[in-house]
Symmetry: C2
Amino acid sequence: MTVSDTEWSTNEQRIAREVLDKAYMREVSALIEEVRQRSGSISELDEVWKLHDFLSARRHEIDGKYDYRYSVLIFVFARLIEEGWLHLEELEGLAPDKLTKLAALSRM
Amino acid sequence: MTVSDTEWSTNEQRIAREVLDKAYMREVSALIEEVRQRSGSISELDEVWKLHDFLSARRHEIDGKYDYRYSVLIFVFARLIEEGWLHLEELEGLAPDKLTKLAALSRM
Protein backbone atom coordinates (compact mmCIF):
# COMPACT_ATOMS: atom_id res chain seq x y z
CA MET A 1 0.00 0.00 0.00
CA THR A 2 1.35 3.42 -0.92
CA VAL A 3 1.47 6.32 1.52
CA SER A 4 -1.33 8.14 -0.27
CA ASP A 5 -3.71 5.25 0.39
CA THR A 6 -3.66 6.00 4.08
CA GLU A 7 -2.98 9.73 3.95
CA TRP A 8 -5.99 11.77 3.03
CA SER A 9 -5.98 15.53 2.55
CA THR A 10 -8.71 17.58 4.18
CA ASN A 11 -10.44 17.85 0.84
CA GLU A 12 -10.19 14.10 0.25
CA GLN A 13 -11.57 13.44 3.72
CA ARG A 14 -14.55 15.61 2.95
CA ILE A 15 -15.18 13.83 -0.36
CA ALA A 16 -14.74 10.43 1.27
CA ARG A 17 -17.21 11.18 4.02
CA GLU A 18 -19.82 12.53 1.61
CA VAL A 19 -19.50 9.64 -0.79
CA LEU A 20 -19.56 7.03 1.95
CA ASP A 21 -22.67 8.59 3.42
CA LYS A 22 -24.26 8.54 -0.02
CA ALA A 23 -23.52 4.85 -0.55
CA TYR A 24 -24.81 4.09 2.93
CA MET A 25 -28.08 5.90 2.26
CA ARG A 26 -28.53 4.04 -1.02
CA GLU A 27 -27.87 0.66 0.52
CA VAL A 28 -30.15 1.36 3.49
CA SER A 29 -32.95 2.55 1.22
CA ALA A 30 -32.63 -0.58 -0.93
CA LEU A 31 -32.64 -2.76 2.18
CA ILE A 32 -35.76 -1.11 3.59
CA GLU A 33 -37.49 -1.54 0.25
CA GLU A 34 -36.50 -5.20 0.10
CA VAL A 35 -37.70 -5.84 3.67
CA ARG A 36 -41.06 -4.30 2.80
CA GLN A 37 -41.41 -6.38 -0.34
CA ARG A 38 -40.39 -9.62 1.35
CA SER A 39 -42.71 -8.98 4.29
CA GLY A 40 -45.65 -8.19 2.07
CA SER A 41 -45.50 -11.60 0.42
CA ILE A 42 -45.05 -13.67 3.58
CA SER A 43 -47.78 -16.23 4.16
CA GLU A 44 -45.99 -19.00 6.09
CA LEU A 45 -43.82 -19.17 9.18
CA ASP A 46 -40.95 -20.58 7.19
CA GLU A 47 -40.86 -17.34 5.20
CA VAL A 48 -40.76 -15.33 8.44
CA TRP A 49 -37.63 -17.23 9.47
CA LYS A 50 -36.16 -16.75 6.00
CA LEU A 51 -36.64 -13.01 6.49
CA HIS A 52 -34.93 -13.35 9.85
CA ASP A 53 -31.97 -15.18 8.28
CA PHE A 54 -31.78 -12.52 5.57
CA LEU A 55 -31.72 -9.72 8.18
CA SER A 56 -29.08 -11.52 10.26
CA ALA A 57 -26.81 -11.73 7.24
CA ARG A 58 -27.43 -8.14 6.11
CA ARG A 59 -26.89 -6.75 9.60
CA HIS A 60 -23.59 -8.53 9.95
CA GLU A 61 -22.52 -7.36 6.50
CA ILE A 62 -23.56 -3.70 6.84
CA ASP A 63 -22.17 -3.40 10.37
CA GLY A 64 -18.79 -4.50 9.12
CA LYS A 65 -18.70 -2.75 5.79
CA TYR A 66 -18.97 0.98 6.48
CA ASP A 67 -15.58 1.40 8.07
CA TYR A 68 -14.55 5.06 8.04
CA ARG A 69 -10.91 4.44 8.99
CA TYR A 70 -8.65 6.01 6.36
CA SER A 71 -6.31 3.03 6.50
CA VAL A 72 -8.97 0.78 4.94
CA LEU A 73 -11.08 3.26 3.03
CA ILE A 74 -9.74 2.38 -0.40
CA PHE A 75 -10.93 -1.20 0.06
CA VAL A 76 -14.28 -0.07 1.41
CA PHE A 77 -14.79 2.08 -1.69
CA ALA A 78 -13.65 -0.70 -4.02
CA ARG A 79 -16.21 -3.03 -2.49
CA LEU A 80 -19.00 -0.46 -2.70
CA ILE A 81 -18.20 0.16 -6.36
CA GLU A 82 -18.17 -3.57 -7.06
CA GLU A 83 -21.52 -3.97 -5.33
CA GLY A 84 -23.01 -1.09 -7.28
CA TRP A 85 -23.59 1.32 -4.39
CA LEU A 86 -21.07 3.79 -5.78
CA HIS A 87 -19.68 4.79 -9.14
CA LEU A 88 -16.01 5.50 -9.56
CA GLU A 89 -16.85 8.91 -11.04
CA GLU A 90 -18.38 9.96 -7.74
CA LEU A 91 -14.93 9.82 -6.19
CA GLU A 92 -13.47 12.47 -8.48
CA GLY A 93 -11.30 14.81 -6.46
CA LEU A 94 -9.30 12.05 -4.79
CA ALA A 95 -5.60 11.84 -5.63
CA PRO A 96 -4.96 10.19 -9.03
CA ASP A 97 -3.13 7.21 -7.54
CA LYS A 98 -6.11 6.46 -5.29
CA LEU A 99 -8.44 6.56 -8.27
CA THR A 100 -6.13 4.32 -10.29
CA LYS A 101 -5.97 1.83 -7.46
CA LEU A 102 -9.74 1.94 -7.00
CA ALA A 103 -10.32 1.35 -10.69
CA ALA A 104 -8.00 -1.65 -10.58
CA LEU A 105 -9.47 -3.07 -7.36
CA SER A 106 -13.06 -2.73 -8.47
CA ARG A 107 -12.31 -4.62 -11.69
CA MET A 108 -10.93 -7.60 -9.77
CA MET B 1 -47.14 -34.17 39.13
CA THR B 2 -49.91 -36.76 39.13
CA VAL B 3 -49.88 -39.79 36.88
CA SER B 4 -52.64 -38.40 34.69
CA ASP B 5 -50.51 -35.36 33.81
CA THR B 6 -48.17 -37.57 31.88
CA GLU B 7 -50.54 -40.34 30.83
CA TRP B 8 -52.82 -39.36 28.00
CA SER B 9 -55.57 -41.56 26.58
CA THR B 10 -55.85 -41.92 22.82
CA ASN B 11 -58.77 -39.52 22.86
CA GLU B 12 -56.83 -37.00 24.97
CA GLN B 13 -53.88 -37.29 22.62
CA ARG B 14 -56.13 -36.48 19.68
CA ILE B 15 -57.61 -33.46 21.46
CA ALA B 16 -54.18 -32.28 22.55
CA ARG B 17 -52.76 -32.48 19.08
CA GLU B 18 -55.71 -30.66 17.53
CA VAL B 19 -55.70 -27.91 20.12
CA LEU B 20 -51.95 -27.43 19.99
CA ASP B 21 -52.09 -27.17 16.20
CA LYS B 22 -54.86 -24.60 16.54
CA ALA B 23 -52.86 -22.46 18.97
CA TYR B 24 -49.83 -22.71 16.72
CA MET B 25 -51.81 -21.55 13.69
CA ARG B 26 -53.20 -18.61 15.64
CA GLU B 27 -49.81 -17.54 16.92
CA VAL B 28 -48.18 -17.90 13.50
CA SER B 29 -50.97 -15.90 11.82
CA ALA B 30 -50.60 -13.14 14.40
CA LEU B 31 -46.83 -13.12 13.94
CA ILE B 32 -47.10 -12.87 10.16
CA GLU B 33 -49.58 -10.02 10.52
CA GLU B 34 -47.29 -8.21 12.97
CA VAL B 35 -44.27 -8.64 10.70
CA ARG B 36 -46.23 -7.17 7.81
CA GLN B 37 -47.39 -4.21 9.87
CA ARG B 38 -43.96 -3.51 11.34
CA SER B 39 -42.31 -3.78 7.93
CA GLY B 40 -44.80 -1.48 6.31
CA SER B 41 -43.94 1.36 8.67
CA ILE B 42 -40.15 1.01 8.51
CA SER B 43 -38.36 4.12 7.30
CA GLU B 44 -34.97 3.92 9.03
CA LEU B 45 -32.26 1.33 9.37
CA ASP B 46 -32.65 1.30 13.12
CA GLU B 47 -36.19 0.03 12.65
CA VAL B 48 -34.94 -2.75 10.37
CA TRP B 49 -32.65 -3.92 13.16
CA LYS B 50 -35.48 -3.65 15.67
CA LEU B 51 -37.49 -5.94 13.41
CA HIS B 52 -34.50 -8.28 13.36
CA ASP B 53 -34.29 -8.26 17.17
CA PHE B 54 -38.02 -8.90 17.38
CA LEU B 55 -37.76 -11.88 15.01
CA SER B 56 -34.77 -13.31 16.90
CA ALA B 57 -36.76 -13.26 20.13
CA ARG B 58 -39.94 -14.66 18.59
CA ARG B 59 -38.05 -17.43 16.81
CA HIS B 60 -36.34 -18.51 19.99
CA GLU B 61 -39.63 -18.42 21.87
CA ILE B 62 -41.77 -20.26 19.30
CA ASP B 63 -39.11 -22.89 18.64
CA GLY B 64 -39.07 -23.74 22.33
CA LYS B 65 -42.72 -23.41 23.16
CA TYR B 66 -44.57 -25.95 21.00
CA ASP B 67 -43.30 -29.05 22.75
CA TYR B 68 -45.55 -32.02 21.98
CA ARG B 69 -44.08 -34.33 24.65
CA TYR B 70 -46.89 -35.52 26.90
CA SER B 71 -44.69 -35.13 29.96
CA VAL B 72 -44.68 -31.33 29.59
CA LEU B 73 -47.93 -30.75 27.72
CA ILE B 74 -49.89 -29.48 30.71
CA PHE B 75 -47.37 -26.66 31.13
CA VAL B 76 -47.37 -25.90 27.42
CA PHE B 77 -51.16 -25.57 27.49
CA ALA B 78 -51.10 -23.44 30.64
CA ARG B 79 -48.69 -21.05 28.97
CA LEU B 80 -50.73 -20.88 25.78
CA ILE B 81 -53.86 -20.10 27.80
CA GLU B 82 -52.05 -17.42 29.75
CA GLU B 83 -50.78 -15.86 26.53
CA GLY B 84 -54.25 -15.92 25.01
CA TRP B 85 -53.58 -18.39 22.19
CA LEU B 86 -55.98 -20.92 23.72
CA HIS B 87 -59.06 -20.90 25.90
CA LEU B 88 -59.49 -23.45 28.64
CA GLU B 89 -62.86 -24.45 27.17
CA GLU B 90 -61.14 -25.66 24.02
CA LEU B 91 -59.54 -28.42 26.07
CA GLU B 92 -62.82 -29.98 27.08
CA GLY B 93 -62.56 -33.74 26.84
CA LEU B 94 -59.33 -33.97 28.82
CA ALA B 95 -59.50 -35.74 32.18
CA PRO B 96 -61.01 -33.54 34.95
CA ASP B 97 -57.81 -33.43 36.99
CA LYS B 98 -55.87 -32.14 33.99
CA LEU B 99 -58.44 -29.40 33.47
CA THR B 100 -58.36 -28.48 37.16
CA LYS B 101 -54.60 -28.27 37.10
CA LEU B 102 -54.66 -26.22 33.88
CA ALA B 103 -57.17 -23.81 35.37
CA ALA B 104 -54.98 -23.37 38.43
CA LEU B 105 -51.74 -23.02 36.45
CA SER B 106 -53.16 -20.52 34.02
CA ARG B 107 -54.36 -18.31 36.86
CA MET B 108 -50.86 -18.13 38.36
